[in-house]
């Protein structure tokens, strides 16, 4: 089946700084993808390249099997909710729906109205006076009513309080259970997305550090704790992602396809968050080194 998003050595440079480089990705259909990484790592750049708001400096990107061009046909198949979930503050909720219906050829009025009703939004209310959570939900309803095959959401829950965050993700998961839509959502907090995503893409220091099905990633990584040992002495199949040592003990996070039988190790499973943090620290130098990537603003 055609991947929803495919990038080949994709890069975007601003002046002398690469916002994203050497990005090669192949995201299958039907996934809920968590695009995670520190602020300024390149997440927004990747999403903007996917919707044609930016042109690549190098490499290629295809969305739903086609080169990204901003033709109405292609834009209609992709729903995009930008950061801060922008709406028109002086227009009412109902105005937004009318606008959506005018601008989108495949607008599904029933879906839009159902979502608004379910959210108990007052159609006459001005969008400017909605709460952050309601605004995010309105933006999601508009994106979904386009009946997109791919939904791209840039930090949709970052500015929401925990309840609104939960409600937003509940709504989003209802949508994915009803419609055949693939979703990519970015966040700098992996904990927000851990329960909803089944595919992970980690961007740090302008590069893809890790990408794959969450289940496979979790199955192929283990934390080993045992007597101090040089990481170089591990069997060939075990790739060390992160190592820390005390004078007596070693703690390693390894990637391996084989089960680990060495009785000297205490072998533990890792969480998505453990995995993300280990790869991020690897990408940005030592964990305590305040690399400029962390401080950079989007």
């Amino acid at each position: 089946m055609t991947p929803v998003l495919q990038a080949d050595r994709l890069g975007k440079r601003y002046g002398r700084r690469w916002a994203l480089r050497d990005c090669t990705l192949d995201i299958p259909v039907g996934r809920v993808v968590a695009l995670v990484g520190p602020n300024g790592a390149g997440k927004t750049t990747l999403l903007h390249l996917a919707v044609g708001l930016l042109q690549p400096t190098s490499g290629t990107i295809e969305v739903l099997g086609e080169r990204v061009v901003d033709t109405p046909a292609q834009l209609g198949r992709v729903g995009f909710v930008a950061q801060e979930t922008p709406v028109y503050p002086t227009l009412s909720v109902a105005d937004h729906l009318r606008l959506g219906a005018h601008l989108n050829p495949d607008w599904d009025r029933r879906v839009a109205e159902e979502r608004i009703q379910q959210l108990q939004l007052d159609p006459t209310q001005r969008a400017g006076s909605l709460s952050g959570g309601q605004r995010a939900q309105l933006a999601l309803a508009l994106a979904v009513a386009k009946r997109p095959r791919l939904l791209l959401l840039d930090e949709p829950v970052a500015s929401l309080d925990p309840l609104a965050r939960r409600e937003f993700l509940q709504g989003l998961m209802e949508i994915t259970s009803e419609q055949e839509v693939s979703v990519v959502l970015s966040s700098h907090l992996v904990a927000d997305l851990e329960r909803v995503c089944d595919y992970l893409v980690l961007v740090a220091a302008s590069r893809i550090q890790l990408a794959g099905e969450v289940e496979e990633l979790l199955a192929s990584h283990r934390r080993l704790t045992g007597p101090r040992r040089d990481a170089a002495s591990l069997p060939a199949g075990q790739q060390v992602i992160e190592a820390s040592h005390t004078d007596r003990q070693s703690t390693l996070l390894v990637r391996t396809e084989e089960p680990i039988h060495d009785p000297a190790w205490l072998v533990e499973e890792v969480s998505v968050e453990d995995l993300v943090l280990a790869y991020m620290r690897g990408a940005t130098g030592a964990g305590h080194d305040p690399s400029p990537v962390w401080g950079a603003k989007r």
């Binding site: 998961m173 209802e174 994915t176 259970s177």
Partner: protein, 130 residues
């Protein structure tokens, strides 16, 4: 109808937590033959989890012969868990209680007891495999 919940700190994967909760409800008689499980949409709308997680849990339960999916209608309980295992709980629990008293007398604190149990459990499991 039962309602699912998730414990983020348990370390048990969400899909397994759903499986366990159905089995638990079957054992306690909260679910009976013919009862319907919540639809995928209901579960994801409540827990904010990926629909595939629910599908995977339901497939596993189906594989165990506990439920069956009727396309377009829902997933229904086809079997109750036998009371035989439940009947065995009482004596086993009493034995365990006696053992716990012995362990405390021997000077073990809660953490040591848990560690001992886990370690023995693991070794025993390995012996079964070997």
């Amino acid at each position: 109808m039962i309602e699912f919940h998730l414990d983020a700190r348990s370390g048990v994967s969400p899909y397994l937590q759903l499986v366990h909760q159905v089995r638990h409800a079957l054992r306690l008689g909260l679910l009976d033959e013919g009862d319907q499980l919540p639809t995928v949409k209901e579960v994801v709308g409540r827990l904010a989890i990926n629909p595939n997680t629910v599908l995977k849990a339901y497939r596993e339960l189906e594989h165990e012969g506990l439920v069956s999916a009727r396309p377009g209608v829902g997933t229904f309980v086809t079997k109750t868990l036998s009371d035989d295992s439940l009947a065995a709980h009482g004596p086993l629990r009493r034995e365990l209680q006696r053992w716990l008293v012995k362990a405390r007398r021997a000077g073990l604190d809660d953490e040591s007891i848990e560690a001992l149990f886990r370690d023995t459990f693991r070794t025993a499991a390995l012996e079964v495999v070997a």
